[in-house]
Every structure is written in structure tokens, then in C-alpha cells.
């Protein structure tokens, strides 16, 4: 009566199990990686949307807009509220500050972090396009990297905001 497996049978069995285990692990990691990528992209989009929303609101309401430091710094001002946005290359984040007083000047530094720690802002470029007597268009380009345990994603974002120059207010 046979009571066990031969060495060959055990080896073949082990070989089969190993092949299946490797395939299953690779597959599982691929699924987890895709899930991580989806989460990372969604996080990047969410962060960038909040930056765009704030820069857009401030730009539309500004009376004066200046782009400095080769597109890394944006300063806006109106009668009683001034903003500075800047890209901190070393910390890979966007920072901002605000001063609120009559005849204010844009703050020199920027102490508030605008983007979350989970994302790295790889590049920021503010630029003014198509400026004329009646409007200025601010273009904001951003490259964002999000790292997750199993995946890293890089995304580029590009948005324009139009600041309509209030001629009547300037004439006053």
C-alpha cells in the first residue's frame, strides 16, 4: 500500500505551487499598484484644484499683478488686501501669505503652506499672457509628483485666469 509521495512528485508539486505563488503575488502587487496610482492621481488633482481655486479667486480680484523670480513668484494687490504666492523649490511646495491693510504691499515671505505634504510640486511657472488695456491673463503651470508605497505618479496641470482691469476704478 502506497503511503506517501515520491521525491519527484513532491518536487513537481512544490514547483507548481511556487509558480502559482509568484504569479499570484505579481498579480496582487499589480492590482495594489493600480489602486495606489488611482489614489495618487486623485490626491494630486484635488490638491492642484485647491491651489487653482485660490490663485484664481485672488487673481480675478486683484488690481495689480506681478510675476517675479522667473515665474516662481506671484504678487497681487488691491486696495486693502495683498497676496504673495511662491514656489519653494527645496521643500517642493507652494506657499502663500496675505496682508490685510489699506495701501498694503505684498508680503516679502510666505509662511503658509498651500499644498499638502503628501505631494511634491516639481515645477511651477506663473506667466502673464495677452495683457492689454482691459485684461491680463495669468497662466499657472504646475508639475506635481505623488509617491505612494507601490507607485509614483507625475502629472502636469495648466490653467489660465483672467483679470479684467476695472478702467473706471483706475480713472478715479
Amino acid at each position: 500500500m502506497r503511503k506517501g509521495f515520491t521525491l519527484i512528485e513532491v518536487l513537481i508539486g512544490l514547483g507548481g505551487v511556487v509558480v502559482l505563488a509568484v504569479a499570484a503575488t505579481a498579480f496582487l502587487f499589480s492590482i495594489l499598484g493600480q489602486r495606489d496610482q488611482a489614489i495618487a492621481e486623485s490626491l494630486a488633482a484635488e490638491q492642484v484644484e485647491s491651489v487653482m481655486a485660490m490663485v484664481g479667486t485672488v487673481t480675478r480680484a486683484a488690481e495689480s499683478i506681478e510675476v517675479l523670480d522667473g515665474g516662481k513668484r506671484l504678487e497681487t494687490s488691491r486696495e486693502d488686501e495683498c497676496f504673495t504666492f511662491l514656489w519653494d523649490e527645496i521643500a517642493e511646495e507652494i506657499r502663500f501669505d496675505r496682508s490685510e491693510e489699506i495701501d498694503c504691499s505684498p508680503p516679502v515671505g510666505a509662511s503658509h503652506r498651500l499644498t499638502a505634504e503628501k505631494i511634491s510640486v516639481e515645477r511651477v511657472n506663473f506667466s502673464l499672457v495677452a495683457p492689454d488695456d482691459t485684461s491680463r491673463t495669468l497662466r499657472l503651470e504646475m508639475d506635481v509628483e505623488v509617491s505612494r508605497p507601490l507607485w509614483q505618479t507625475n502629472q502636469s496641470f495648466d490653467q489660465i485666469f483672467v483679470n479684467v482691469v476695472d478702467v473706471y476704478m483706475e480713472e478715479e
Binding site: M1, E41, V164
Partner: protein
């Protein structure tokens, strides 16, 4: 001798093997489906973010055109371009990074009389055409796994600010 050896060998029956295979297949199909769902969600989100940026940019540019010269606005379908350093509207539609965009500009009608109010409410029909107000409808259209997706933004373009 051979008959004696195999007569007592214990193994799996055909039904057991089939049940095990069916379970394995069900699990595999479930996992593959999950993976595809993740990829789909990621692609959809990326396309939507891009389309919304294009849409927002289109409406912003229309605002610049309105500010530049309201008198030049006429009804039609356009897309915004920078021409000679200024925003202007060109006839037709434009495709930007896989997203088609355009803006429809049309006149609106207001109630003929509204009890002494300076600006009467907008009506769909039966009113008088307001010569100093247009409606701008910015639209984007893109392909999402063979399905056409559209989003739009509307704004009034008035002579006054």
C-alpha cells in the same frame, strides 16, 4: 503488483477538482475586474481634470474678449485664440489635448415690462432682445472609452460690469 499499488491510492475526485477550479476562476475574474476598475477610475479622473481645466480656461478667455471689446461680440460658435497679443474669438471649434472646446454666444430676451425695475428678468421667449447682454455657453467634449462626455459652463456677458 501494479494493481495493488493503485487500488488504495487516495486522490481528488473529478468533482473536487472542478469545484476547486471554479473557485479559483471566480477569484481570478474578481481580481482582474478590480484591477480594471482601478485603471478606469484613474483614466476617467485624469481626463475629467484636463477637460475641466480647458473648460474653465475657455470661459476665462471669453471674459477677456468681453472686456476688450463688447461691441465686437456677435452670435455664433467660436473658440478663443490669442491674436496679436490679445484674446479674440475664431469661428468654429478647437481640439486641445484631446478635448474639443467651443463657446456658443447668443442673444437673450428680457420681459417687456417688469414694474419699474431697471433690469427685467430674462425670459426664454416672448420678450424683447436685450442689445447689451449675451449669453456665453462654454462647452467641452471628450472621448472616454468610446463614450462621448460633455461639460459646460454658462455666463452672461453684459455691457456693464
Amino acid at each position: 503488483m501494479k494493481k495493488v499499488i493503485f487500488a488504495n491510492r487516495q486522490g481528488f475526485t473529478l468533482v473536487e477538482v472542478l469545484v476547486a477550479m471554479a473557485l479559483l476562476m471566480t477569484l481570478t475574474v474578481g481580481l482582474v475586474g478590480l484591477g480594471q476598475l482601478s485603471v478606469r477610475a484613474s483614466t476617467t479622473s485624469r481626463l475629467r481634470v484636463k477637460a475641466m481645466a480647458v473648460l474653465q480656461g475657455t470661459m476665462e478667455a471669453v471674459m477677456a474678449v468681453r472686456a476688450s471689446n463688447f461691441g465686437n461680440l456677435t452670435e455664433g460658435t467660436y473658440y478663443p485664440v490669442i491674436s496679436e497679443g490679445k484674446w479674440s474669438l475664431a469661428d468654429g471649434t478647437e481640439v486641445v489635448e484631446g478635448v474639443e472646446r467651443w463657446v456658443e454666444i447668443y442673444k437673450i430676451q428680457r420681459e417687456v415690462s417688469c414694474g419699474g425695475e431697471r433690469i427685467c428678468p430674462i425670459v426664454g421667449s416672448g420678450g424683447v432682445v436685450d442689445p447689451v447682454t449675451f449669453k456665453a455657453k462654454a462647452m467641452v467634449k471628450w472621448d472616454e472609452r468610446g463614450k462621448e462626455k460633455r461639460e459646460g459652463l454658462e455666463s452672461l456677458l453684459t455691457f456693464w460690469r
